[in-house]
Every structure is written in structure tokens, then in C-alpha cells.
Amino acid sequence: MKAQIIGPKEVGALVLITIINRLAWIDPQTLLRHPGQNAWMLPILALPAAGLTLRAVRSLAFHYGGPINGLSTVLGRRTGAVYAVLIAVWLTLFQSAALARVVSVTRYYFFPRTDPAVITAYLMGTLTLISFSDAEGVARSARLMLGVPLVTLFGLLLLSFPSARLSQLAPLFGQGVGETLASGALFSGTFFGVYVLWLFGDCTGGAPAVSRAARRALLLGAGILTVSMAMMAATAGYGGFKDAVSYLYAMAANIDWGRYVQRLGPIHFFVWYITALLSGGMIQTGVARLLGRLLCLGDMRPMAALTGLCVYALTVLFTAGYAAPLSRAVNLMSTPVLVLLPAVPALIGRWKRRRADETA
């Protein structure tokens, strides 16, 4: 019996928090220009890809436990190690691209005169400290803090309801089938939280309840995203900040409770940074665990610090615009890579198991 340090509720919370996190960084310009009235469909269209990823990840976690064990069993020791390094590199790039966005928004709203490198340093320092608490700390924090973004989002949607116009929502494929499907496919990267089952596989014990919790969280998260994005599209044009970078910020800043509180934006970000930090912490911890296990390290903290340094350097480059093509490529490739990375070893593993059964 493997140790189950992370239970179903922690895994579910982590998956959900990474999905909700995506909402904070959807900017009005992108929302209105690109998917526009079809925004509400994107999570639904992206769900099949996310479901495939979850299936592959679940298969690996269930049969082989941790990622290193799974990869070395399925692909062999050397190829497995190379594949693990590739995963680590991809996740580092993915993390850097996501953080570059966080840094840009932070700078735009709060520290316009601060050097982005300094803002990135604060962010990376915090993320590295969080990842020092390992899978246990990150997953349990998600479980403890999940209520904060959920309640805030619920409140925000309720408060925005009076200014929503349902006529602004396109019923189906308003932008055309091709464009809508393309937008939906690009949106699949939002569901990267399901990797928790794989990256923290040796902490979850491979219990069926854990993968069940991840599946439920995925569906619930997709539902929440659908409703929230529908509300974003329905309230578009009513935000007080046309040039806002974050749509949720615009919605929150538009709420005024008279004598009690006005322009909830900054306080609202208190909530969204929680999701950003926990999502980032999950990825960084996952990479550190992956590399730490590969090098047979007892303590994964040096690897977490090293990963932090790499992410810092890449984020600074992305923010400054020096590596813009790379950043764009990472964003474009997020969906296929998200699905393929666990799918390849999962399929090979399945084929090997089937062959072994036939031989037997």
C-alpha cells in the first residue's frame, strides 16, 4: 500500500484552483476581439482535450505511481529520463509564459514604475518558498484556500448580474465554426491542473477516489468557467475601465457599495493572486519533484530553487519581449503538448500491458 499524503479533496481543490485561476488573466480586449459572444463555449470545446489528458494521466498514475517510475517502466530507463527532462523543460516554459502575464498585469495595476525584473523576483521568491513546502504543502494550501476564490467569484457574478445582457451571448458558433473551434482548442491549456495526478503521483497513492475527485473538479471547473465567461461576455461594454488588462478586475472595480467600499479591484486581486501562486507553486513543485526523483535526491528543495531561477530568467525575457516568438509558440502549442505529453507514455504502457497479457 503506497502512502497517500494527498487525498481526493486536496487533488480536487488543486485542479479547481488552477482552472479558476485562468479567469483572472482573461483580458477584455482578447475576450471581445477574438471569441467575443462565443466565450462561454470555450471551456466546453476544450473539455474533450482536457478529458483525454486526464485519462492518460490517470492511467499513468494508477498503474505506475510517480512520473519517474512510470516513464522508466514504460519507455526504459534512459529514454524515460530524457522524456522526464523534456516534460520538465516544457513545464518550465509553460510556467514562465503564464508568469509573464501575471507580472505584466501586476505592473500595469500596482507597480507601473517598478522594473519588471524586480516584480518577477518577488513573485519567483514567493513561488520558490511555496514550492519548498512540497506537494503536501501546495495541495493542502489549495484545499484550505479554495473557498476564498470560489466565494469571491460567486459574489462577483451575482453583483454583475444586473448589468448583464443575455442578448450579447451568441447561441452557437456565432463567430463561425472554424474560429470558435480554434479558440476552444487554444483554451485547453487552462486545464493543466490535471497534471497534479501525474506529477504528485507518488503522494496520491494511486487511489481511484483521487482520480474520481480530479474528474469531478474538472467538470465543475469547466462549468464555473462557462458561467463566468458567459457573464463576462454579457457584461462587456459596461465595465468602467475600457483599457483594463484583466476582465475580472474591470468587473470588480465597477462595483460600488457607496459608503462601505468602492472599486473592489485591488482587494479583488488579493483573491486572484492566491490562485496564481498556488497554480505556479504546483507546477514548480512538480518540476522540482520530477528532476529530484530523476537525480535520486532526498531533498527536492535545491531543484525547486534551480527551477525557480530558470523560470525567473525566462519570465524576465518574456516580459521584456526578447523571447516573444518563444512565448507565442508556447501559448500556441500548449494544447497539443498538454495532451500528448502524458498520452504517449500512457498509450505505450497500455500496449505493453496488453502484449504482456497476450503472452501470458
Binding site: I5, I6, G7, K9, E10, T106, F110, F111, Y122, L123, T126, L129, I130, S133, D134, E136, G137, V138, R140, S141, R143, L144, M145, G258, R259, Y260, V261, Q262, R263, L264, G265, P266, I267, F269, F270, Y273, I274, L277, L278, G281
Partner: protein
């Protein structure tokens, strides 16, 4: 460290004694001390058939040449030379005279140790031993040693004198509904108090001594059959490891040094309570309790953050009200840590979030304040801690006066003198008030320190800085364990049967929370 320099410059002359120029500073133990230490190790009492030799050996152990408390009373019992040895003050002289010396003096036959123990001496406990260490420990416990010429067997007689105060009222954990008696400094009395509340044969008490220098007694109590045996093994392992450290142990509050898995954490990982009824509840739920001689508190492990936020009264009032009180305490803990930081963040970075009227009025009151927002908050926070510390140290009646002077008069004077703004005063007092609602003193102190961290985080990054710190803090706390039990259990990790925030119906309550893997009684 610079003693060679001092010597060469002539500041110190030869071997003259000088404070600060300690052996440690010189990096070596002086030969004289070393010799004495080696001799002390060799000083062992060996019972001897010759009374003179035995007394000499025992006297050597207790340094009778310079120790006036070591008393030897010579007797002649039935023509045999005998001696009664005891430590002055620890043994009861009246009992010793009436129950030991007088009967011995009236004997006319040659005494035999077995006969004396069975028939001769009317004391409650008597034992015969030939072990020197047992005799030394017995004397330190307040027993008297009867040694007879011609035999190496020593009779230890229980004539201990108990100097203790009566069981008093609780001082720090007062309740409106509930018992009012508290632990005292006597270990035996404390064990009895717990036993009177946990009336089951499953209650186990394991005695042991701690400390290389002073061998203080302590008792580990738990309910066998309910407690997880792994927890008992882990606690005993830690205590035995502490025993082997040869470190002077002066009381129960030092236990945390040995029991904490993260000794440098500012958050408590054990709970100290002065209430026997609370201790009994913890024992019934499968926790371990350590009682120490000389300490009117019980140390409880493992604990969770929710245990630190509970009070005994929660069990004595209606569940709905108790649950509300628990939620208020959680809210107070958060406010105590976050409020000053939030004020600084709002005033420094996010003024737009304040309603316009409030923003104008707050900024107007701040117009004449020369200090920065952080400066005035630091002044107020430190001032409040000064008042709190002073009011804890001073005697009874002045206590309240000091609180009034510190809290109201001084705060008002500071606001009048335009050193701090009235809003800052309100925020700090509110945070302090919230802090005082936390039932556990160690957690109160931790909240105070975290409040300072949040203050600095808000100065650096406003709300964003506070968010960063709060996520780091939570993820750190999620890795803290008390004797292997996660600090945030039963919420993270979530467990089915728990004693967290929600008070259940009496029939649904559990005496064995899953978080500590306690086994429920049938």
C-alpha cells in the same frame, strides 16, 4: 575570543577571575574544572557491609563536607550500629522521629532488614535495596535511608514531606460554565486530579525523569486502547532522546524543545493547559499528556490549530453558540494578523478602495502626522505590546490601572500630540483586542509576530505583498506537524471523524478524531 589579545595587552593578569572571560570563551575547559567534573562522574554510592564506609561513600556523593542539608542520625539498634540518612526539608522530621527513630531505639534484639520492613517500622512504604543509585534517587525524593552495620542492604523509608499549595482556581483559562479547579506544582496531585476525571482502568501513567543535572520527574498519561500506539512510541522516543542529552531540564514549558518537529517555528506544536477537565478531554480523545513536577500545566500532544482555538467552555454550552464562538475566534486570529498590514496597504497603495468620504477624512487626520504610516503603526504595535507585557508582570491591583493608562490615556495622548492618527489607534487596538480572544498564549504570541511580518509585507507590496506572504504562510503551516499529526487536520488533510470547527450533536460527537488515528472505544 580575544583573550590572547587581552592578555598580551595586559588587560588581564594571569589566572585572575574575570566575568566574561569564561572557559567557553577561551575555547577550553580549565584543568581544575575538568578534574572536578571527572571526579563527580566517579562519585558513586556503593553500599557496604561496614557502616562507616557506606556512610563515607554516600556522604561523598552528597558532598557532606559543604552540604548542610545532608543529615546523618546515628543510632544503636539492639546493640548494632545504625544510621538514618535523609535530606533536610525533603523528609518529614516528625514522621521520621515517630515512625522510624523511636521504634528503632526501643528495639533490644539484633535487627534484620526483612523483619524491620515487615513488622518493625510503621511507615507507608519501605523497600530494601542494594543498588546505590536507587538509594541516591530515594533520598532526593525525600525518603530516608536506614543503614545497618554488618549488611549492605539499605532500607528506604517513605517519610516524604509534601510542600504544596491547595488546588486553586484557574488563572488563565477561566470559563463561565465549567469547573474552576486548576493544576498545582505537585506532580502527584495533578495526576490525581486527572485520574479523578478519567475514571477508567485504561488510563496509563508512565513515570520518568528528565534532565542530566536535576532529574525532574514527569508523567506521561494516556488512555490505552484509544491512543494510537505509534504516537506513544514516538513520544517516548523523543523523551528518551532528550534524556540522553544530559541537558538541565527545568520545567514543563521546555518540553516543546524536545517534542516540536520544527523547533524554530514560531507556531506552537504542543498545547499547555492548566485545566484538569480539558486535559481529561484530550486524554479521552486519544491525545498524550505530559505532566511535570513543579509545573502547574499539562503539556498536550499532538495538537492541531483548531485545538489551540478551542476552549473548555465550547463543550459546556449549546453547540450552535459554541460553533459561532469558534468561528469568531478564527476571524479574530485572521484580523489580529492582517488588520495593521491591511491598513498600511490601503493607506499607502490602494486609497481608491476606500469610500471617498472615508478616504478624505482619513487623509485629513493624517495630514498633521509627521511619521509615515508604517512608523505610526510600528509605534502603536510596540506600545501595545509594552503595555501588555508590563501588565502581565506587575502585581494585581496596579494591573488594571496600567491597562487603562496604556490603552486609553497614552493612546489618546499620542493622538493629541499628532504622533499617530486616530484611525491607526483604532486599527491597532482592534487587532490587539482580536489577538486577546485567542485562547492559547503561544498562538497569541505567534499571531503578534506574524502581524509584524504582514506589516512589512504590506509596506513592500501592498495587498499583493500580503497575498504573497499569506500563501507562503499557509503552505508552510500545512507542512507543520505536531508529533506527526498535520497542523491543519482535520481540514487539510480532510478527515471524516473530527473535532474541528463544527460542533456536532452529542450523539454524533466522536471521542476519537481520525486526525490522530485514535481508536474509538466500543
Amino acid at each position: 575570543m580575544f583573550s590572547w589579545l587581552k592578555r598580551s595587552l595586559g588587560f588581564t593578569g594571569g589566572d585572575d577571575f574575570m566575568l566574561g572571560d569564561s572557559a567557553r570563551e577561551r575555547g577550553r575547559v580549565p584543568p581544575a574544572y575538568e578534574k572536578e567534573r571527572e571526579e563527580a562522574k566517579k562519585r558513586v554510592f556503593c553500599p557496604n557491609v561496614r557502616l562507616g564506609s557506606a556512610l563515607s561513600s554516600l556522604g561523598h556523593v552528597f558532598r557532606n563536607a559543604e552540604n548542610d542539608d545532608f543529615i546523618t542520625r546515628f543510632l544503636s539498634v539492639g546493640g548494632t550500629e545504625a544510621a538514618v540518612v535523609f535530606i533536610n526539608g525533603l523528609a518529614d522530621r516528625t514522621v521520621l522521629f515517630d515512625a522510624v527513630i523511636r521504634p528503632l531505639q526501643s528495639m533490644y534484639t539484633r535487627p534484620d532488614p526483612d523483619t524491620l520492613v515487615k513488622n518493625g517500622l510503621p511507615v507507608q512504604e519501605a523497600e530494601i535495596t542494594e543498588q546505590g543509585e536507587t538509594v541516591v534517587n530515594g533520598l532526593l525524593d525525600g525518603k530516608a535511608a536506614l543503614m545497618l552495620d554488618g549488611t549492605a542492604r539499605v532500607i528506604l523509608l517513605d517519610v516524604r514531606r509534601a510542600e504544596k499549595r491547595a488546588v486553586g482556581r484557574t488563572e488563565n483559562e477561566k470559563v463561565l460554565y465549567g469547573a474552576h479547579h486548576a493544576f498545582i506544582e505537585d506532580l502527584r496531585t495533578n495526576i490525581t486530579l486527572v485520574r479523578s476525571l478519567v475514571r477508567t482502568p485504561d488510563l496509563v501513567t508512565r513515570m520518568m525523569t528528565m534532565g542530566g543535572g536535576n532529574d525532574l520527574r514527569l508523567a506521561v498519561m494516556y488512555k490505552s486502547g484509544t491512543v494510537n500506539p505509534q504516537l506513544v512510541r514516538e513520544l517516548m522516543r523523543r523523551l528518551q532522546r532528550a534524556q540522553s542529552k544530559n541537558e538541565t531540564f527545568s520545567g514543563g514549558f521546555q518540553l516543546h524543545r524536545f517534542l516540536d518537529q520544527r523547533p524554530f517555528s514560531i507556531f506552537p506544536q504542543t498545547l499547555n493547559t492548566e485545566r484538569p477537565d480539558r486535559t481529561a478531554t484530550f486524554i479521552s480523545q486519544g491525545h498524550l499528556v505530559v505532566l511535570t513536577d513543579g509545573m502547574p500545566f499539562a503539556t498536550i500532544a499532538p495538537i492541531t490549530i483548531f485545538a489551540l482555538l478551542h476552549t473548555r467552555e465550547d463543550h459546556n454550552i449549546r453547540p450552535q453558540i459554541a460553533m459561532m464562538m469558534r468561528l469568531i475566534r478564527v476571524l479574530c486570529l485572521l484580523m489580529s494578523m492582517l488588520l495593521p498590514g491591511l491598513y498600511v496597504a490601503l493607506m499607502t497603495f490602494h486609497q481608491v478602495s476606500l469610500p471617498t468620504e472615508m478616504m478624505i477624512s482619513t487623509l485629513t487626520t493624517r495630514k498633521m502626522i509627521g511619521l509615515s504610516v508604517l512608523g505610526e503603526m510600528l509605534i502603536m504595535v510596540i506600545l501595545f505590546e509594552l503595555v501588555r507585557e508590563a501588565s502581565v508582570r506587575v502585581q494585581g491591583s496596579i494591573n488594571q490601572t496600567l491597562g487603562i493608562i496604556g490603552g486609553i490615556v497614552l493612546g489618546d495622548a499620542l493622538a493629541e500630540a499628532s504622533l499617530v492618527s486616530p484611525m491607526a489607534l483604532i486599527v491597532v487596538l482592534l487587532a490587539a483586542l482580536c489577538g486577546l480572544t485567542i485562547p492559547d498564549y503561544a498562538l497569541q504570541m505567534a499571531a503578534y509576530q506574524v502581524r509584524l511580518f504582514f506589516l512589512f509585507a504590506s509596506v513592500i507590496g501592498g495587498i499583493i505583498g500580503m497575498t504573497y506572504l499569506s500563501v507562503v504562510l499557509v503552505s508552510y503551516l500545512c507542512t507543520v506537524r505536531s508529533l506527526g499529526v498535520p497542523f491543519f487536520a482535520p481540514v487539510a488533510p480532510a478527515t471524516r471523524k473530527n473535532d474541528g470547527m463544527v460542533m456536532r450533536r452529542v450523539n454524533s460527537r466522536t471521542d476519537a478524531p481520525d486526525a490522530i488515528n485514535a481508536r474509538e472505544d466500543d
